[in-house]
Each structure stands twice: as C-alpha cells, then as structure tokens.
Symmetry: C2
Subunit: 192 residues, 2 copies
DNA sequence: ACCTATCCTGAACCACCGTTCATGTTGATG
DNA sequence: CATCAACATGAACGGTGGTTCAGGATAGGT
C-alpha cells in the first residue's frame, strides 16, 4: 500500500475547473450538454475530462456529490444555530427545507442528468452528515412540541426528494407550505 | 373542408397496436427504447410508426394522452359514487389519489420519456375533465368539513405531479399519508 | 539544468438512434 | 374484378455524442 505520489498542481486546478464548469454548463444548457462543451467551458481538452473522470456518469456523480456536501453543511449550520440556543428548531428546519427546495430548483438539470445516467454519488459520508443533522433538528422540534412525533428523516427525504423543481417560485412556496403543514403537531394522520 | 375519407381498417388496427406496444416497451425497457424495438413489439415496420406519428415525441405524447384519459375516467367515476350518496367525498378523493400514485409508479418510465422529449399531450380536454371532477370532490369534502377550506385543485396537482415514483410501495403509501394529512381540516397552515 | 512520470491535447473513431424514401402490398370503392 | 389511393416495408442515411489514444507539453524532484 505505498502512498501514491501527490497529484500535480495543474491537475488539481483542472479538476476543480472541470467540476464547476460541468455544473454551470448543465445548469445553463440542459442535462444533455456534450463533453466537448463542458471541456471548452473549463478551458481544457476533452481528453482531460476523461483523465479525471473515466465516464460522463462519474463526472455528473461528482457534481452531485458537491451539492450534497453543500446541503450537509447547511443542515449542520442550522443545527448549530439551534444548539447554541439562538433559534427554534422548527423554524430552522423549515428555513433549511426552503433552501433545499430553492437550490434543487436551480440545479434541477444536474439532477435530471444524474437520473438519466444512473449516477449515484459514491459519497455516502455527506449524506450521512445531512441525515444526522436533520434527525437532530427533528428531535429538537419534537421536544419543543412543534413537530409531529411520528415524523422521521426518512419522511423528510421522501417528501423533498421529489420537490417540484419545474414549477414557478410561487408554486414552490405553496408546495412547501402544504408539505410542511403535514409535519406539524396540529396535523393527525388519517390512515394507516 | 370536405370530410376526409375514413381510415383503412388495418391502419386503425396498427395504430392501436403501436400505441399499446409503445407503452409496454417503454415501461419494460426504460424511457430510451428505440423506435425499432417498439415497431418490432407491435409487429410492424419502423416506417409504419412514422406514418401514424410523425415523430417519437408525438408517439409518446399519444401514450401519455391515453393515460390522462384513464385518470379522468377514474376521477369522474369517483365523483359519481359520491354524487349518488354512496360514498364520502374525502374517502373517494383519498382512494383516487392513491390510485394515481400507484399508476404513476407503474408508468414512470413513460413520464420520464415524455419529459425528456418535451412531449405535451395536445389533449387538454381530458385534463379538464379530470380537473373538473377533482374540483367537485374537493368542494364536497369541504362541505363535509373534512378538507381544509384553502385547498384547490392546483394544490392537488402540485402535490401529485411529484409523487415518488421511484420508491418502494411502502414508501409510496407513507408519502400519501403525509401529503393527505396536510389537506385535512385538522391541519393549519404555519406560514404565508 | 536535466530527466521522467504525470498530465494534456484534439482529431478521429464508433455505436447508436431518429428519420426518410423508393418500392411493394392491400383494403376499399364502383 | 379491376383499379387506385392508402398503407406498409426496411435498408440506408445523417447527425450526434461519448470515448480513445498517439503524440506533445510540463511540473517537480534530484
């Protein structure tokens, strides 16, 4: 298990450029942008793309992984705010979920590309971080008596993994209201 | 505007075979089945596909239109059951929505294909039928005091256009419970 | 300054898929 | 039954887009 030599500086730089260019191009020109366009936007040749990511699927997966990591950071920040006593858990959770909906709307093309290619981020770590933070927020909200005792992270995931990314902002807001209402203490489940 | 001659019998037959074959093949082999495979499954040559549907987009749109019509029928049947006094509006609505979720799970590949190709069913009539029936069910449920007064058809559409079609049955059921709960009288909106 | 493993370049390759069209077939009309 | 418009056939085409690879450049250690 000899430690592999550290990557060259320009390689690291290119990898970053490619990653951000990929995100931008997919968002701007739809989920079907060619590798050529991504490479051009990154100021790099196609071959370089394939040096860093063996396949387009891998590239998209890496882009998604970045986004997941960002969401995890967001969730942890929200939790920290609650833990320090500065904010109510329910409010932080609602605000966080609102941000999730907005960013998924922005990045919907990336999501679409990932689905089409069957790209799954190998980075389970970030997902776990997000899960843990959200779980803590839920528990805190339940302790406050704001969130229905039955609600779990799985529910949140279930609800928000299919947020309406193709709808106008007003519709997204309305959607958030409708969905959040169902998580609240006032609501009671009506069936098994 | 002379009345065009009636289509030939075998043409009608083929059109039907193509339509059902397209649905089956897309459902079975994913949203990216080639026209060749659809043609083969229909027992027909590719050219015949293009005689009936100028483009793949048109074909998929026609398949979607069929499904929409079926949903409209379902909604109207549910409404009829309520109107005849045999069923409670809330229950019929919930059951109807459950069926919608299940069928969208089955036909998710068709939906995906439609989205990829930008296929929009020119058949606004069926959509309007469904809308009208659901609206009536909502009003009845609100009159019964079961459904929150703010809820509209647009809300239903918003919620169910993003049903989790890629999740297992138990998750779909849970999702339905969570979403339906938010529509109930017991729930109160928590934000603007 | 030199050397080499690492990295980059980009034209070319290839497989796939929607679409077309010249040719052959068949249902309906009289 | 004869006739013809409507319909079906399926090989071939064109364009797209992911992927490869032989050759050239360069960072980084000695």
């Amino acid at each position: 298990m000899a430690q592999a030599r550290a990557p060259r500086a320009d390689a690291v730089r290119n990898r970053r450029k490619i990653l951000s260019a990929a995100g931008e191009q997919i968002t701007a020109h739809g989920p079907d942008v060619g590798m050529d366009e991504i490479a051009a936007a990154a100021g790099v040749a196609v071959g370089t793309l394939y040096r860093h990511f063996p396949t387009k699927t891998d590239l998209v997966a890496a882009v998604v992984a970045e986004h997941v990591a960002r969401v995890a950071d967001d969730a942890e920040a929200a939790l920290a705010r609650v833990a320090s006593g500065g904010a109510r858990a329910m409010d932080e959770l609602a605000a966080f979920l609102g941000r999730v909906v907005e960013t998924s709307a922005t990045d919907r093309a990336v999501k679409a590309a990932a689905q089409t290619l069957g790209a799954t981020p190998g980075d389970r770590a970030a997902e776990d971080r997000a899960s843990a933070a959200v779980t803590a927020l839920i528990h805190a909200g339940q302790a406050d008596g704001d969130i229905h005792p039955d609600v779990t992270v799985a529910d949140i995931y279930l609800l928000f993994s299919t947020a309406p990314t193709d709808q106008p902002a007003t519709a997204r807001t309305r959607w958030l209201t409708l969905v959040t209402t169902g998580l609240t203490t006032h609501a009671r489940a009506t069936s098994t």
